[in-house]
C-alpha cells in the first residue's frame, strides 16, 4: 500500500470511530429530554382530567342526595295520599328536575323489591339499576352506578341511586339517569394531545368504557390488555385508593402501536384513566436531529479522509515525482526534467539527476517526431470532411428551418426544409423572405438579440403567410450565436420550429379551463382535488381567492381550520369504498355556508388514488328547509287556534238545535223533526272532527303527557262494552266481551287506551249490519297483553289495509262511505299504542270480517 493511502485511511478510521460514539450518545440525550417533557405533560394532563371528572361525579352525587329529600318524591310512598294525586305531583317534579339538570334525562322511582312506581320514560320498566340498588346493603345517602348502556334508549350513561326514607324507614329508591356525554367531553377534549394523543377510561374488568380516537363503538367491546393496564391493576392492588406513583413509560397500546403513556386512577368509580400519545409523533422532531447527526458524521468522515489524503500527498508527492522522473528517463524521454523546487533532501537528489539527463540529451536527435506530425494532420482533415457531410445530412433531414445568418442579418446558408419553403433565401436579408413579410427586422427577433447579447435567445413568432399552410402559423424561433476564438459574435444560427398545432391545442385547453372556471364561479360551485395524504392538489381560482395558496396544506386545515382529519370525512370514505360519496358540510371560513360535497375517487396517470370534490352551494335549499319548518309550526299553531275558535259557535248551534229537538219550545212536525235530526247528526260530526284534529295535532307535536299508572285492562274492555252497548243495539249489532283470566295489572294511560278501544269498537259497529262484535283480552307471551276487536262485517280489501292507519284515509269512498268518520281515528290509535311501546295491526278478509289487534307491553 502506498504511503498516502495509509495515512488517509488511518484518518478516516479515527473519524468514523469518534463519530459513531458521539452521534448516538447525542441522540440518546436528546430523545430522553424530549420523552421526559412529554411524560411530564401527559401526567399533568391525566391528573387535571381526573380531577375534573371527580369533581363532576361529586356534583352528581350531591344533586342526587339533595333531590331524594324532595317531598314530591317522598310522597310517592305515602299511602295516606290519593294515588293519582301523588303520582301526578311526582311526575310534575320529575319534569322540573329534568328542566333544571340538563345532564339528567330519565328519572325512575322504585320500591324495595325493585318494581318501578313512576318514571318519565314509559318504555322504561325493567332496569338493572333497581336490582343493583337493592344489592347494596350499606346505608349510604346516594351512590353512583358505573357507566352502562341505559335501556331502552341505548344511551351510554350512569345513574345516581338515592334511597328514599320516610321516618327513618327506607321505602325505596330514586334513580337519576345521566348521559355520559359530559364525562366523555372531558375525556375527548384533544387539547394538548397532538394528533395521536388520547385519554380513555378502563373499568375494573379491563374493558374500555369511553370513546377511542381510533376505534368505533368501543364501549365494553374492547378489552385493553397492555403493559400499562397490567401495571395499573398491580398499582390498584398495591396502593388501593391511596395515591398511585403514576410512573409513565413506553409500551404497546391496544392497537399494538408504541406509545408514551401514563395511567391515573378515578378511585370512586374504580376507573383506570389512561393518557397516551404515539411514540412516533413524539419522536418526529428527533428525526431531523438524527438526519443532522448522520449528515454531520458523513461530512466529518469525508473531511477527515480529505485531510488524510492532502497530508499524505504533501509527504508523498516529491518522492513520487522523483520516482516518476527516473522511470521516464529510464524509458528514454530525455526531455523530462525532475522537479527541483523543493529544497529538501529529495530536491537535491533531483537536481543531480537533471544534470545527468541534460548531458545525455545533447547527443540525441529525432526525425521520428516530424513523421508523426504529418500523419496526425492527414487524419484530422479526413475526419473534418466526414463530420461536415454528417452534419449537412442531419440538418437537411430536420423538419425545423435552420439557417446561418451573418452579423448583418443576411442569410449565409439554409437547410433543406428552409430552402423548400423559401428557395431564394440565401444572400437575402432574413426578414425579407423568412420573416413576417414586413419591410424591416421582425419585432423581438431572437437572432438580432443573440447577436447583441451573445446568448441563446428564444421567441414565439406568429407568421401570417406561410406557403402551403392555412391561416396563421406559430413558430418557436431560437437564435444561437456563433463566436470566433476570441469570443466575438460573428453570426447566428437560426432554428425555427413550427408549433402551430401545439399552440392551438394549448389555447383550446386554456379556453376550456377558463369556461369551466367561469361556470364554477357563476354557480358558486367549488372544485378541489385532494391526494391520498389529504394534501390539497388543486383548488379552482374563485376559491383560491378566498382560501389562499393551497400549496403544502392539508384539506382539513385549508378548508376547515382543523388540526386533524374531519369527523366523518367523505374523502376517507371515498378512498375506502372507491365509490362516490355525497355529504353535506358547513364551511366555517365562509360564515358556515352550507355546501353539498360530491367526492369522486379516481386514479391519476401513475395509479395514485386522488379525490375530486365538487362543492355545490346549498344555502338556498337550507333556507327553504328552514322556511318549511317554520311553515309547519305555523300550520300547527293555526290548526290549534282555528279549532278552538270553531268550538264556541259550535256550542251555541248545538245547544240551540238540542233545545228545538227537546220540543221545549213547542211541538214539532215530523218533517221538522227529520231536518233537526239531520242537523244534529252533522253538528256531532263536526264537533268530533274538531276534537280529533286537535288531539292528533297534539300527539304529533309530542305535547301529550302520558299518565302511566297501574290499571286493569279487563276493566277498560268492560267499561267500553257498557258505554257502546246501546249504540250497537240500535243498529242491531250484538256487542260482547270476553276477558282473559289472570291478567296482571300493568302500567298504561287508562283514558288513552279507553279512547283506542272505543274508537275501534265504534268502527266495527259501523261496518257490521246485524252481526257480532267481540272484544277479547288475553296474555300474549310473557311480556305482552293482547286486545282484539273482531267483527263479521264487510271486511277490508287487501290493498286498502296499508292506508288504514294514515291520516284522512277512509276506505270505501262513494256511496258506501262510513258516515261520521273523521279519517283521523286510527291514526290517533296507532300513535297512542306506539307511544306505549306497543303495536297495532289489522287482519281482514273481504266479506268475512275484520279483526283489529293491539298488544301492550306489561310493565
Amino acid at each position: 500500500m502506498k504511503i498516502a493511502k495509509k495515512i488517509s485511511l488511518s484518518f478516516l478510521v479515527t473519524a468514523i470511530i469518534i463519530v459513531s460514539v458521539v452521534g448516538p450518545a447525542l441522540y440518546v440525550i436528546f430523545s430522553n429530554i424530549l420523552k421526559d417533557s412529554i411524560f411530564a405533560h401527559l401526567s399533568t394532563t391525566a391528573q387535571s382530567r381526573r380531577n375534573h371528572i371527580e369533581t363532576l361525579l361529586r356534583e352528581y352525587e350531591h344533586a342526587g342526595k339533595m333531590l331524594a329529600l324532595s317531598t314530591s318524591f317522598k310522597n310517592v310512598f305515602n299511602e295516606n295520599l290519593d294515588y293519582d294525586q301523588r303520582m301526578e305531583a311526582a311526575l310534575n317534579k320529575i319534569e322540573t328536575v329534568l328542566d333544571t339538570h340538563m345532564d339528567f334525562f330519565e328519572i325512575l322511582i322504585f320500591d324495595e323489591k325493585g318494581s318501578v312506581l313512576i318514571t318519565n320514560e314509559p318504555r322504561n320498566v325493567t332496569t338493572d339499576e333497581n336490582r343493583l340498588a337493592t344489592l347494596k346493603t350499606e346505608e349510604k345517602d346516594a351512590y353512583l352506578v358505573d357507566l352502562h348502556v341505559l335501556e331502552p334508549s341505548g344511551h351510554i350513561g350512569m345513574c345516581i341511586i338515592a334511597p328514599i326514607y320516610i321516618e327513618n324507614e327506607r321505602k325505596g329508591f330514586i334513580c337519576f339517569r345521566i348521559k355520559a356525554d359530559e364525562i366523555y367531553s372531558i375525556l375527548t377534549d384533544k387539547t394538548g394531545l397532538g394528533k395521536t394523543g388520547e385519554i380513555y377510561l378502563v373499568n375494573r374488568d379491563g374493558y374500555m368504557i369511553s370513546p377511542s380516537r381510533f376505534l368505533e363503538d368501543t364501549f365494553k367491546n374492547t378489552k385493553v390488555d397492555t403493559t400499562s393496564t397490567r401495571k395499573y391493576f398491580e398499582d390498584v392492588r398495591e396502593f388501593g385508593d391511596t395515591k398511585h406513583p403514576h410512573i409513565p413509560f413506553i409500551h404497546a397500546d391496544y392497537r399494538g402501536k408504541k406509545v408514551l403513556g401514563v395511567h391515573d386512577h378515578v378511585s370512586s368509580m374504580a376507573w383506570g384513566l389512561f393518557a397516551k400519545i404515539d411514540e412516533e409523533e413524539v419522536l418526529r422532531p428527533l428525526r431531523s436531529v438524527a438526519y443532522l447527526l448522520t449528515t454531520m458524521a458523513v461530512v466529518v468522515s469525508f473531511v477527515a479522509w480529505l485531510l488524510g489524503v492532502l497530508i499524505g500527498r504533501v509527504i508523498a508527492k516529491p518522492i513520487r515525482r522523483l520516482q516518476k522522473c527516473t522511470e521516464m528517463i529510464g524509458k528514454g524521454d530525455l526531455d523530462y526534467k525532475c522537479d527541483v523546487s523543493i529544497k529538501d533532501e529529495i530536491g537535491q537528489l533531483s537536481l543531480a539527476f537533471n544534470k545527468m539527463t541534460k548531458d545525455l540529451k545533447r547527443t540525441t536527435t529525432s526525425i521520428e517526431t516530424l513523421n508523426k506530425e504529418i500523419d496526425v494532420r492527414k487524419k484530422t482533415a479526413m475526419a473534418l470532411s466526414e463530420s461536415r457531410a454528417q452534419l449537412k445530412g442531419l440538418l437537411d433531414g430536420s423538419p425545423d428551418l435552420i439557417a446561418q445568418i451573418d452579423k448583418n442579418i443576411k442569410v449565409v446558408w439554409a437547410n433543406k426544409a428552409a430552402l423548400d419553403l423559401y428557395p431564394d433565401v440565401i444572400g437575402n436579408f432574413c426578414y425579407k423572405a423568412y420573416g413576417d413579410g414586413s419591410d424591416g427586422p421582425c419585432k423581438g427577433c431572437p437572432c438580432i438579440r443573440a447577436i447583441k447579447s451573445g446568448n441563446i435567445e428564444t421567441d414565439i413568432v406568429c407568421k401570417p403567410r406561410v406557403k402551403g399552410a392555412e391561416g396563421v402559423t406559430y413558430w418557436e424561433d431560437i437564435g444561437v450565436p456563433i463566436k470566433d476564438e476570441k469570443g466575438n459574435v460573428t453570426g447566428v444560427i437560426d432554428i425555427a420550429r413550427n408549433i402551430t398545432l401545439r399552440r392551438k391545442a394549448q389555447m383550446e385547453l386554456e379556453r376550456a379551463k377558463k369556461q369551466i372556471e367561469y361556470i364554477l364561479g357563476a354557480t358558486k360551485t367549488g372544485l378541489d382535488i385532494i391526494d391520498k395524504d389529504y394534501n390539497v392538489v388543486y383548488v379552482d381560482p374563485e376559491w383560491e381567492k378566498i382560501y389562499g395558496d393551497p400549496k403544502g396544506r392539508k384539506c382539513y386545515e385549508y378548508f376547515m381550520g382543523l388540526e386533524v382529519i374531519c369527523e366523518g370525512c367523505g374523502i376517507k370514505k371515498a378512498f375506502e369504498t372507491k365509490e362516490i360519496v355525497v355529504s353535506e358540510e358547513k364551511l366555517p371560513k365562509e360564515g358556515n355556508r352550507p355546501v353539498q360535497v360530491t367526492t369522486i375517487p379516481f386514479q391519476d396517470e401513475k395509479g395514485n388514488w386522488m379525490a375530486a370534490e365538487i362543492n355545490v352551494d346549498i344555502s338556498e335549499r337550507k333556507n327553504a328547509e328552514q322556511e318549511i319548518k317554520k311553515a309547519i309550526d305555523i300550520k300547527s299553531d293555526f290548526i290549534s287556534i282555528v279549532s278552538h275558535e270553531l268550538r264556541t259557535p259550535l256550542t251555541a248551534i248545538r245547544e240551540g238545535i238540542n233545545i228545538l229537538s227537546d220540543e221545549s219550545t213547542g211541538v214539532l212536525t215530523d218533517m221538522q223533526k227529520n231536518f233537526i235530526k239531520l242537523t244534529q247528526r252533522n253538528v256531532e260530526r263536526l264537533s268530533r272532527l274538531i276534537n280529533d284534529v286537535l288531539s292528533f295535532q297534539k300527539l304529533e307535536a309530542d305535547k301529550v303527557v302520558f299518565k302511566m299508572l297501574k290499571n286493569d285492562i279487563n276493566k277498560v274492555a268492560e267499561e267500553v262494552t257498557k258505554t257502546m252497548e246501546q249504540l250497537a243495539l240500535n243498529k242491531g249489532v250484538k256487542l260482547e266481551v270476553s276477558v282473559g283470566m289472570n291478567l296482571p295489572e300493568f302500567r298504561f294511560d287508562r283514558d288513552k287506551i279507553m279512547q283506542v278501544v272505543t274508537n275501534i269498537v265504534d268502527n266495527a259497529i259501523k261496518c257490521v249490519d246485524k252481526g257480532d262484535v267481540l272484544i277479547t283480552t288475553s296474555r300474549d307471551g310473557d311480556q305482552n297483553v293482547r286486545v282484539s276487536v273482531r267483527d263479521n262485517g264487510k271486511g277490508i280489501r287487501k290493498r286498502d289495509i296499508p292506508k288504514l292507519f294514515h291520516t284522512f284515509e277512509q276506505i270505501e269512498k262513494g256511496k258506501d262511505r262510513i258516515t261520521g268518520g273523521t279519517g283521523l281515528g286510527l291514526a290517533i290509535c296507532k300513535d297512542i299504542i306506539e307511544k306505549h311501546g306497543g303495536r297495532i295491526w289489522v287482519e281482514s278478509k273481504l266479506n268475512k270480517g275484520s279483526e283489529f289487534i293491539f298488544v301492550l307491553p306489561i310493565r
Binding site: 268550538r647 259550535l650 256550542t651 251555541a652 245547544e655 240551540g656 221545549s664 297534539k698 303527557v705
Partner: protein
C-alpha cells in the same frame, strides 16, 4: 226558593241558550258578559254556583277565578269553568285556583247538568 246560578260568557248566543236551558231546569239565572260586570254583580247577588268562561273581555276568567278564590266572602261559591281552551290549560287553572270543576266546549247539556248537580 230557586237556586241562583251566575253565567259569565261574552258569547251572547251561548248566554241565551244556557239561560233558556237552566231556567227550564228550575234555576234562577244571573248573566254577565265580562269579568268586570261579573265581579260587580257577585257581591250583590251572591249566587249558589258560577259558570265561568275563561276568555273574557276587560278582566279575564283567570283573574275572576283568582279574585273569587282569594276573597273570604266568595271563596265558598263553587265555580265551574266553561271553556274552549285545551284540556291541559284548563287542568292547570283548576289546580292553581282550586276550582271545583270544568266543562269543555262544545259541551253536552246532560254533562253540564250532571256537573251542576254535584254542587247544588
Amino acid at each position: 226558593m230557586a237556586k241562583k246560578i251566575m253565567v259569565i260568557d261574552d258569547e251572547l248566543d251561548i248566554l241565551e241558550v244556557l239561560t233558556f236551558r237552566l231556567s227550564k231546569a228550575g234555576y234562577e239565572i244571573i248573566s254577565a258578559v265580562d269579568g268586570q260586570e261579573a265581579l260587580d254583580l257577585l257581591t250583590k247577588t251572591r249566587p249558589d254556583l258560577i259558570l265561568l268562561d275563561l276568555r273574557l273581555p276587560k278582566i279575564d276568567g283567570y283573574e275572576v277565578c283568582r279574585r273569587i278564590k282569594t276573597s273570604d266572602e266568595l271563596k265558598e261559591i263553587p265555580v265551574i269553568l266553561l271553556t274552549a281552551s285545551s284540556t291541559i290549560k284548563v287542568e292547570k287553572a283548576v289546580k292553581k285556583y282550586n276550582v271545583e270543576g270544568f266543562i269543555i266546549k262544545p259541551f253536552d247539556y246532560k254533562d253540564l247538568i250532571a256537573e251542576i248537580k254535584k254542587f247544588i
